[in-house]
């Protein structure tokens, strides 16, 4: 299995289109950094507009804040970049004509499929590491550290600067789970197609469709919301909230809703296992006619 995984990773990272995602993320973040460095005050003023009756002092626009803003924007778009690889992983081989070559080798279909999914997951992981380097580390260098001020829907959270880094580790880990779920969707659709456009478009359509349902406040759809993976994908934000004592003073080192993080993680994990298992089950029985 290790050998298979090496082969799959080799194929992914020898392909020029793999690096489009890395380049896109770097370019987007750099543009954001330049914009905020030059025009950050206006952005800050807009952000702090609702706190006009308060004196806010300190470095609000610091590396942690810029990273949070970056993640908010990019984690909506990263699924597409993940799908570029995951949606192509079987269908691309079918299109190239290499799938029948691969499947005529001694490795079983299950082994091949699992190796491919693991490779897609590792690609996703590396993409997020890349995102972390640019969005977090580079921003800390450019904008410095400081407390993190987050606007929730009905309250403001301020997290001490020495209580933030572990939260980002947690958030990135959770984002990895979310993106791997997207990869699993693309992976499943990939086994049905013989070119990658279908699975890529299909995966994005699924995400958009479920996202719309999860944002509608219609009672009949509220029943299914907890089961939609998109409902849980944004739960990484829960890492950026903390419990408060009876006097509403934030308690450092705590999470407001750890249970939600755990339950969402389990839902996403269940999706990953379910989707990949289904893909393996279907693919094992599939006639390869490409």
């Amino acid at each position: 299995m290790w050998k298979l995984l090496q082969i799959e990773l080799y194929k992914i990272f020898r392909r020029p289109r793999t690096y489009i995602a890395f380049g896109t993320i770097a370019a987007l973040i750099i543009i954001l950094q330049v914009g905020l460095k030059l025009d950050g005050q206006e952005y800050l003023d807009f952000m702090l507009n609702s706190l006009s009756k308060f004196d806010v002092s300190g470095t609000v626009l610091n590396g942690y804040m810029v990273c949070y803003v970056t993640l908010q924007m990019l984690l909506i778009n990263v699924p597409l970049l993940v799908t570029l690889i995951a949606g192509d992983i079987i269908s691309g081989e079918a299109n190239m004509g290499t799938l029948r070559f691969m499947l005529g080798k001694p490795y079983s279909r299950s082994q091949i499929l699992i190796a491919k999914f693991l490779a897609a997951s590792i690609y996703t992981f590396l993409l997020l590491i890349w995102l972390a380097i640019f969005a977090l580390l580079l921003n800390l260098v450019i904008f410095g550290t400081g407390d993190l001020m987050i606007f929730k829907s009905s309250y403001l959270v301020i997290i001490n600067h020495d209580d933030i880094f572990w939260r980002y580790i947690g958030a990135f880990c959770f984002a990895f789970l979310s993106m791997t779920t997207v990869a699993a969707v693309g992976f499943l659709l990939s086994i049905f197609a013989e070119n990658s456009i279908g699975p890529i478009v299909g995966t994005m359509s699924v995400i958009i469709f479920f996202t719309v349902i999860s944002t509608l406040n219609i009672p009949m759809y509220n029943v299914i919301k907890p089961f939609l993976f998109v409902t849980h994908m944004n739960v990484w934000k829960e890492f950026f909230d903390q419990k408060a004592d009876a006097h509403n003073v934030g308690i450092p080192g705590t999470l407001q809703n750890p249970q939600r993080i755990i339950s969402s993680a389990l839902v996403l994990l269940a999706h990953i296992v379910g989707l990949v298992s289904l893909a393996v089950y279907i693919f094992k029985k599939k006639d390869i006619l490409s």
Partner: protein, 340 residues
């Protein structure tokens, strides 16, 4: 070279090789490398393969023939577990394919019609990658030797996207052979190749069979090529076996096709039509005259032609696989439609 059936082959093998071959046959009795029984594949509205049974012996060059859509590729894909049979069994190397897939495929190398590889990798990188999939780690020298064997040395570092179809075909064959399999399955191996390439493949098949002792299972449209290499042949039509056997078994001496060529074939034909040879005349497909008669009558025909004062260029008996093929498949009616 005459068609490669066993009796002809032995004429061209020296005594030392004959002794070795005999010893091998005595020590290891001939076994079925492939044994297919009642193989059937049903797609939605189509029975692509219908109760097909055949066997391939160790050391055979087994020609697998049929028209387009006869079920050849479907059968080959079932041998490689790319398609699940609807019914029937496949045994390879004495093992049930379904239960011992890994062991069987470790001993098998295959090229399926119009093979393709990873275009963004070089020839050498592709070969190395597929070798790893076959469970081996060849040295650079071994990789180069393999590429050299298929005529790709000098192009090993070029990206495959710059290759012609013929070059990709050659690379596909190199990939199929890299792990030195016992059984080689070739589906349309000469697709896209020029005449030199076709000749190279033919010689390669003969080399693999005669010098390396491999078993080769080859399907092709080029009947003339199969004729030159195959020790046994299976012809299928509409998914069903039509005929199977060695050249010796398939070609009836009493039904030998003879091709006559003279300086004036029109005059010769007119004279034959008014002679005792009239019944043996066959429809012409070219400028030469075709007769079907008993092999032992060929010298008499030759003598009669000379006695008639006809200027004979050649009297050539043919064991034509094409003729056999057209005879037993529904292809004949298509040819007649064209010629008529």
């Amino acid at each position: 070279m005459k068609p490669g059936s066993i009796p002809f082959y032995l004429l061209f093998v020296n005594v030392a090789q004959l002794s070795t071959l005999t010893l091998q046959i005595l020590i290891a009795p001939m076994q079925n490398i492939i044994s297919v029984t009642g193989l059937t594949k049903q797609f939605k509205n189509l029975t692509a393969v219908n109760n097909l049974s055949f066997s391939v012996n160790d050391g055979d060059v087994y020609g697998f023939l049929g028209q387009n859509g006869a079920g050849k590729s479907t059968t080959i894909r079932m041998l490689l577990t790319l398609i699940q049979p609807t019914a029937g069994s496949i045994n390879m190397f004495g093992l049930d394919l379904q239960k011992s897939r890994r062991q069987v495929l470790q001993q098998t190398g295959a090229v399926i019609e119009k093979p393709d590889v990873y275009k963004y990798l070089s020839a050498r990188e592709n070969l190395k990658l597929f070798a790893a999939l076959s469970g081996i780690k060849p040295t650079q020298n071994q990789l180069m030797a393999q590429l050299d064997m298929v005529g790709l040395s000098g192009r090993e570092n070029d990206k495959v996207k710059t290759f012609s179809q013929g070059m990709k075909q050659r690379l596909g064959i190199a990939i199929a052979l890299i792990h030195d399999p016992k059984l080689i399955i070739l589906d349309e191996p000469t697709n896209g190749l020029d005449p030199q390439g076709i000749a190279d493949i033919r010689n390669l098949i003969l080399h693999l069979s005669r010098e390396k002792g491999k078993t080769v299972f080859v399907s092709s449209h080029l009947l003339s090529e199969i004729e030159q290499v195959a020790t046994r042949v299976l012809i299928i039509d509409k998914g069903k076996k039509v005929i199977e056997g060695s050249a010796q078994e398939l070609f009836d001496p009493s039904q030998t096709i003879v091709e006559v060529d003279t300086l004036n074939n029109e005059t010769t034909l007119a004279q034959l039509q008014q002679s005792q040879w009239q019944a043996a005349l066959q429809p012409r497909r070219s400028h030469t005259i075709i007769l079907k008669l008993n092999r032992t009558s060929i010298p008499q025909l030759h003598i009669w032609l000379v006695q008639q004062g006809l200027q004979v260029l050649s009297v050539q008996p043919r064991h034509s696989l094409e003729d056999l093929f057209l005879q037993v498949t529904s292809g004949k009616q298509h040819v007649e439609a064209f010629t008529n």
